[in-house]
């Protein structure tokens, strides 16, 4: 079994490294620093840590004002509060002015678990991807998270990064190199392509391994850079495999599946299936139970791949 690490722990330590390298990096949090792990930054750079209290709209506005004056603010809270709670502030104060604010949200998706629907962000990617000029990234593991946090710090423009609450297996190899706008091929294959983000990337690899035993050869792409999406990789996969399955811990509407489908239908229409939350709110439960209940498992990916392949003309 690969080692399991919580990406938010990696976020906290990477932010400290970045803080050492660049004094313009500041962190903001809305009373959940101990959970988002910006508390790590606070311990090292208390003067550059801004606690805004339970006031996410104000946090986004303050972050915009900091960015407009040369700071590189990392604003963190839980994904539900970092997006839908303050979407208008993100839209007008940050995105419309294309300000260099980095929103790093944790506790996204069903895998928040017992806290239930109000705390399970399943629409944050649809919201943030809808904003012109926003960069949206969903890392799959700790190794990738480090690189993503470094990449968005170096990128000039507003960014949203989505992290889960729990630990995830380390699936990226030592050779892994993240680049904004690039998909990463984790496994070659010619019969179908599985495109996954975040906590669904490991199950995508498991599904591909299971399908290989049935002589179904699946390509697996880590689509961490959701916006900009790697259109060339999507089109190539459509051309070379003829069937695509997407997997995400998000509403089907407006997430990875929708974004990939937009590229596919415009360029190279092929059968597609989407493993995602189907227009439902979450509920309390253990993370694994919830993923199973909502059909976000490697078994469901296997079924979806077979279905997509069966629809090839």
């Amino acid at each position: 079994m690969p080692e399991e690490i919580a990406p938010r722990e990696v976020y906290g330590s990477t932010l400290v490294e970045l803080g050492r390298e660049n004094k313009n990096i500041v962190a903001l949090d809305a009373d959940v620093a101990g959970s988002t792990m910006t508390s790590t930054f606070k311990k090292t750079f208390p003067e550059r840590f801004i606690e805004v209290g339970i006031a996410e709209a104000n946090m986004m506005g303050i972050a915009a004002g900091l960015a407009a004056n040369g700071k590189i603010p990392f604003a963190s809270t839980f994904a539900v509060f970092a997006t839908s709670r303050c979407f208008d502030q993100i839209r007008v104060s940050i995105a419309l002015a294309h300000l260099n604010v980095k929103i790093v949200a944790t506790h996204a998706g069903l895998t928040v678990g017992e806290d239930g629907a109000s705390h399970q962000a399943l629409e944050d990617l649809a919201l943030t991807c809808s904003l012109p000029g926003f960069t949206v990234i969903v890392p799959a593991d700790g190794i990738e998270t480090t690189q993503v946090i470094r990449a968005i710090a170096a990128h000039d423009g507003p960014c949203y990064v989505r992290l889960p609450r729990g630990k995830v297996p380390q699936i990226s190899g030592a050779e892994y190199k993240f680049e904004i706008g690039k998909a990463y091929e984790m496994r070659p294959g010619k019969d179908a392509a599985i495109m996954a983000i975040g906590v669904m990337t490991a199950p995508a690899l498991e599904a591909a391994a299971a399908l290989a035993k049935e002589n179904i050869d699946c390509r697996v792409l880590n689509m961490a850079s959701l916006k900009p999406i790697d259109e060339a990789a999507v089109i190539k996969a459509a051309q070379e495999t003829g069937a695509i399955v997407t997997a995400e811990e998000h509403q089907e509407h407006g997430g990875l599946g929708s974004i990939v489908a937009r590229v596919v239908v415009k360029n190279q229409p092929v059968p597609m299936e989407m493993v995602a939350v189907k227009d439902k709110f979450g509920m309390s439960g253990k993370p694994a139970e919830l993923l199973k209940r909502y059909g976000l498992t490697s078994e469901e990916i296997v079924k979806a791949v077979k279905k997509a392949i069966s629809r090839k003309s």
Partner: protein, 296 residues
């Protein structure tokens, strides 16, 4: 003629350009401020009439405030809008764009002829102020209640970097019904932002009528005092009172200042005064002529 790219990535948008005639130094002027105010009011009604839409009422009520700031109080360079040592002006009530465009144009941030393009396709003078399009505009605004948070972020930057520049933010009374204003009020006190002066353009009228009838937020003074701010109340149309209050706010230590400027919506044009009718309506040709006569 303008490079605004209104439909694609905002990062591709371009600023307006200052006219070649503007000096390179810190703006200064010896002109009588009362005549500057009159001129700004004429600029405002003229550009809105030409545009055929816009917000005259809340622009006219803020004329003395912007005149005091841009002509006497703030250190700023029209030739270098992003001059790092400039004082920052944050317009939270973004619909009052015409008063800011009037002040920026008069100071030389862009040619005054640009006013004729207000609200037109591809103009850098958008219906609500935008940072990416117009020289001298600090914040993209238009959704009320957001400017004081932005101003607090700017002021925090000044504190973090130990800079001497100040931040001035203009709010409307009606927008104080937005909860975010009070979030920012709390935070500015918490962070002891004495480099921040907010000015409340308390004209008592909003889109739907009188503020006191729609959502009565008065008394403002005791509310801001209770939240830990230094509060100064003035007649917002007495230029000397505005100047004195702004200067006093610079001396306060350990807390932000709120200047409650009692103003009149539509000030200076008799038929626009103290009415919601001209909150967001342009004068027609006949009304413009009448307004300009009154402002002569």
């Amino acid at each position: 003629m303008y490079n605004i790219n209104a439909v694609t990535n905002p990062s591709e948008r371009q600023h307006s350009t200052p006219p070649a005639t503007v000096g390179s130094g810190v703006f200064s002027s010896d002109e009588d401020l009362i005549s500057v105010c009159k001129r700004l009011r004429r600029d405002i009604v003229t550009m809105i009439a030409k545009a055929g839409s816009g917000h005259p009422g809340g622009s006219l009520s803020a004329v003395e405030i912007l005149t005091a700031l841009y002509w006497k109080i703030m250190r700023h360079k029209p030739s270098d809008p992003q001059w790092p040592d400039r004082d920052r002006f944050i317009l939270s009530k973004g619909h009052a764009a015409p008063v800011l465009y009037a002040a920026l144009g008069e100071c030389g941030y862009f040619p005054k002829s640009d006013w004729e393009t207000l609200r037109q396709l591809d103009s850098h003078l958008q219906g609500h102020t935008e940072r990416l399009t117009t020289h001298g505009v600090e914040m993209s605004a238009g959704s009320l209640g957001q400017g004081l948070s932005f101003a607090a972020g700017a002021a925090l930057t000044g504190k973090l970097d130990n800079r001497s520049w100040r931040v001035y933010a203009l709010l409307s009374d009606g927008e104080c019904a937005e909860g975010q204003i009070w979030e920012a009020v709390i935070a500015a006190k918490q962070y002891k932002l004495d480099n921040l002066t907010a000015i409340l353009d308390n004209n008592g009228v909003q889109l739907g009528g009188f503020t006191k009838d729609i959502m009565d937020i008065e008394p403002f003074n005791v509310k801001f005092e209770a939240f830990g701010w230094n509060v100064i109340e003035i007649n917002g149309h007495d230029i000397n009172q505005v100047l004195d209050a702004l200067k006093k706010s610079q001396e306060v230590k350990g807390k932000p200042t709120m200047i409650i400027a009692h103003t009149i919506k539509g000030k200076g044009v008799s038929f626009m005064e103290n009415t919601a009718e001209f909150h967001g309506k342009a004068p027609n040709a006949e009304q413009l002529e009448k307004a300009l006569k009154e402002l002569a």
